[in-house]
């Protein structure tokens, strides 16, 4: 937005982040919250990452150069956040290594917030990933990036409507210009601290035979792991024979997913 005249007033306003955001780069000590950043390739995910952490991360698009994940940090409202940049993927069906890395982190890494960056000019295509992320986490924010480019193309995105349909907060942003970053930070902060809740949109299983099988497995899972979240999704993955999920169920790892993640230090630091 072009409101340069109010810049000075804004800086002193309580809503402003000017004083509250401290970019920590890779200097991370003990952190309070972990935020995962997911999104399709070429959606400006890295720009969002860089805007929040002050890092200059460059991600090459040369195929095969799998960047496992990059990490950086920032401090907001005197709370330290670790931001984990997941590899850009089109889906979480774990057909590729990248998708596997992203999905396993969201599921087993138990981030406090997962931010899904989507491209405003290609919303239809990008929402696939957002919907899939919403199947496996309750704490997600959708960041509709490149809103400036969309505007230039005559495209307007209804953030409120999208938020209602997806069941999670939606932030319209143009990360390159810094637009929307402030609101994104506030939403992350609120969600991490439990001040906001969301009811992510879940896809129904509408094939009768599958429905039966899923219901049966969900019942079994509920008995074995009374507090396990995303039972339906886990049941579906079990049915499809997803080896990582099968292993997690067999070992009991899946049962511990409902616990708030205790120490973020357990997530091994990798990337840069």
């Amino acid at each position: 937005m072009t409101t340069p005249t109010h810049a000075t007033t804004c800086e002193t306003c309580a809503v402003s982040s000017g004083s509250r955001l401290e970019r920590l780069g890779v200097k991370l000590g003990q952190v309070d919250f972990v935020v995962a950043l997911a999104g399709n390739p070429n959606t400006g995910k890295s720009t969002v990452f860089n805007a929040l952490t002050g890092l200059r991360q460059h991600t090459g698009n040369w195929p095969g150069k799998t960047i496992a994940r990059a990490e950086g940090g920032f401090s907001y409202n005197s709370k330290k956040f670790k931001l984990v940049d997941l590899p850009g993927t089109y889906s979480l069906l774990s057909a590729t290594e990248d998708e596997e890395v992203a999905r396993n982190f969201i599921l087993f890494g138990r981030p406090d917030v997962t931010v899904v960056v989507v491209d405003a000019t290609r919303l239809e295509r990008n929402l696939n990933l957002a919907l899939q992320v919403l199947q496996i986490t309750d704490k997600a924010i959708v960041c509709v990036n490149l809103i400036d480019e969309a505007r230039a193309h005559g495209v307007t995105v209804d953030g409120r409507g999208l938020s209602r349909d997806l069941g999670v907060p939606v932030v319209l942003a143009a990360a390159r210009q810094g637009e929307g970053i402030e609101q994104l930070l506030r939403e992350i902060d609120d969600m991490a601290n439990g001040r906001s809740t969301c009811r992510p949109h879940r896809l129904p299983v509408d094939i009768p035979t599958v429905r039966e099988s899923v219901d049966e497995l969900v019942k079994c899972l509920a008995e074995a792991y009374p507090n396990m979240p995303h039972r339906e999704w886990v049941a579906l993955r079990l049915l499809e024979g997803d080896s990582r999920i099968v292993q997690a169920v067999a070992s009991g790892e899946i049962g511990s997913l409902q616990q708030d993640h205790v120490a973020t230090g357990t997530i091994s630091a990798c990337g840069n």
Binding site: N40, S91, T209
Partner: protein, 472 residues
Amino acid sequence: MTPKQIVERASELRWKLPQDYHDRWVESIYAESARIASRNVDQQGKTHRLAWERRLDWLLTNRWTGMPIMVLMLALVLWLTIEGANLPSGWLATILLDIGHPFLKQLADYAHLPWWLSGVLVDGLYLTMAWVISVMLPPMAIFFPLFTILEDFGYLPRVAFNLDHLFQRVGAHGKQALTMSMGWGCNAAGIVATRVIDSPRERLIAIITNNFALCNGRWPTQILLATVFLGALAPPALTGLVAASAVLGVALLGVFLTFFSSWMLSRTVLKGETSTFTLELPPFRPPNFLRTLYTSLVDRTLIVLWRAIVFAAPAGVVLWSLSNIQIGGISLAQWMISILDGPGWLIGLNGVILVAYIVAIPANEIVIPTILMLTVMTTGVTGIGEQGAGVMFTARGDSELAMLLQAGGWTTLTAICLMLFSLCHNPCSTTIYTIWKETKSLQWTLVSTFMPIGFGIVICGAVALVWRIVGG
């Protein structure tokens, strides 16, 4: 129920899943996102750019027009490469072969090097390297940038899209279309590019079959033979057209063999499911010519050329030694030729060609010079290669070349079989080394090396048999 029982129950229930369950699930996700997007996105006015892009996409990926456009594009790239490389290749040959070689020879004489040392270094090592550079550098410097421009423009993902269902049918990964087209530049580069394929099974298929993509080192062989032997059969006005179609035909046969061998592998030793992948058809972008030129020259051309030189240099030494080390008054090369003449005849070739293929394992580009040199030695034709035995040279003029080869017992059959054999034989040593580095498996390296030879022997043998029966 214990966790183990749950897992077991799940695998029992898996049998009840409908066959197309996964596809339906993915479709339902897509339908839902389309629904949500259409509710919350408002497009004001028509954007001409989008309409234009949509029309182009329709044209390029259409069932009826997509394939012909692809073949036409390939033909155009080939034609530009062939035509464009001619002139600079000639210049480089003049500088490196006509001027550089005698100069170094004289230098060696001044330095009083023993004859064998100057032979190994100047006639063996230097000449081979000079040949590789003059034959390989110009086409690569044209082919790679053209390829990168198409890539930047966004055409390659559309090619992958067009070929995807074919690859899926033969049990291979759709991205193999990309690695195959990389292979047209250089098989070693194509094999490195298979890293984009995540499934190890499909990646192996892509690696093993990559050799059926004619590489840079083999295009010159194809073009030369097609012009000299096949083009000459047609009336003069059609010579170019016939030669170009013959080369295109061999290239397309390579594509067919890629599908065929992928199918064969995925039905036998590399059984498994075809994995799906999401391919984004990126917006068409005007390519940045200068940057494209720079990156494709530095990243691809020079690296590939350097590897070729490293492997070709020792081959020159071997070649020179084979022709000059004698056992019982006959050179080693001649021994090998007479041994291989019989098996060579069976597949429509001759001993000279087979020896050349053994010597030229390091780099495909030296096959033709090696054949010429060996032919001169065995036929005793003089006056073409002034430098004499053991020295690779370029034949001046196509008719002279045809005369020389016909004196060596060549027929149209030999040329056709050589073109086919050039498509189907072992990869060059650079590629073999790359395969080993990428797979870290001796077994698969050997399969990748010998499977194409098997194809070559069968195809050439069949062609020779039919030709001889029909032709009497």
